[in-house]
Symmetry: C2
Subunit: 221 residues, 2 copies
């Protein structure tokens, strides 16, 4: 006899996530076996992930490799390659996030056996919601928020901002033209996530990027 | 005997969409029976949907009602109410888009029987990917793209930009501070979607908003 509906519910989200976590654990092993430190960059479309990675590509040079997740087009991978480091593209063909299996498939093709790569940056699909539920095997999860998006986003999108290791507030050069309370954003992020490390940068002007790259560098070694 | 894997594939996306379309058709009937013209606004987080709706609320007054879709918080609904029109909030609790059933549930609670409401604006969850697959019963689908997001977004997110009736390019006041090729965006959008109507506006300064509101007005009558 069934007392309530709950008894008859099948939770399909759990097996999906366990499957993703299994692939993520394989990615983690693959990467740590090769001494490669891995970042997962998540943000809205247009918050500046690719521009951040271009600056990082110039800082880290051929020691960095990039996986680009995009719904469609190879534009971002081409930008990264022009900045001087290797980039592989995953076109999700409509899917709204990267999952660990897709990243694992990319890793098999990336020819990182020669030991030059010590940093892998994964640029997730531009989306503030769906990617946050999928662990890819990364060592550091970075959430980008850009000034024009507004200072109310942290509590509106808590699934991301409660799980990031680093909050990167980008496009600081636009602060004079917009109403954006940086202190509010940092405070709301710390209320969800007390251990978060925060950087304020402008990837476009370079402001704050050396400090951020130095922080990533110190985590690699 | 099975010749190939395709024979054993079960496409679970089709019934889900048909179910959504059934609810969308019900919404459409509910709204047209009451002479209510309906907009579905879709964009990235922070592209300015709520600011656009605040300006529209001042233009249309109590003749407009708003459904606010948010992952979490009632912040946007409160902003709309302060601008002078009624707003109902759907908190999706993690879901990355509105579906027609959620909108239908909201419609039942909105008390629009007195005939004052002639325009309903639905602000979708901030997401450039997932909402585009879900028809809510709207008469007009509006895609917002803001200048700081960059001029490369149309071909990267074709599922939205190929299905909008109106492309609203927002935050035009930031053009002097950024590299954004408006002509490129319009051209790429028209290549996917020849019949799209384009407006360039700044909801913050008001630039272009009267023209846009007038266009919506002319569609209502």
């Amino acid at each position: 006899m069934y007392d309530n509906d709950a008894d008859r519910r099948i939770d399909i989200s759990e097996p999906v996530m366990s499957r993703n976590d299994r692939f993520a654990a394989e990615n983690r092993k693959f990467l740590t076996d090769r001494n490669i430190y891995t970042l997962n960059l998540i943000s809205s479309p247009g918050a500046g992930k690719t521009t951040v990675l271009e600056v990082m590509a110039r800082f880290f040079g051929p020691g960095m490799a990039v996986i680009e997740g995009d719904v469609q087009t190879r534009r971002d991978a081409e930008r990264i390659e022009r900045a001087g480091c290797r980039a592989w593209q995953i076109e999700t063909g409509g899917a709204c996030h990267l999952d660990a299996q897709a990243v694992g498939n990319a890793l098999e093709h990336m020819e990182m056996e020669d030991g030059t790569v010590r940093l892998l940056a994964i640029e997730n699909v531009g989306n503030l919601i769906c990617p946050s539920g999928y662990f890819l095997g990364e060592d550091m999860r970075i959430g980008l928020l850009s000034i024009p998006e507004g200072d109310d986003k942290v509590l509106k999108y808590p699934s991301l901002f409660s799980t990031v290791d680093v909050l990167l507030i980008n496009k600081m050069d636009l602060v004079p033209h917009l109403d954006f309370d940086v202190d509010r954003v940092v405070e709301e992020c710390r209320s969800l996530n007390p251990d978060v490390t925060v950087f304020t940068v402008s990837a476009r002007t370079g402001e704050g990027m050396e400090e951020f790259c130095g922080f990533v560098e110190s985590n690699i070694s």
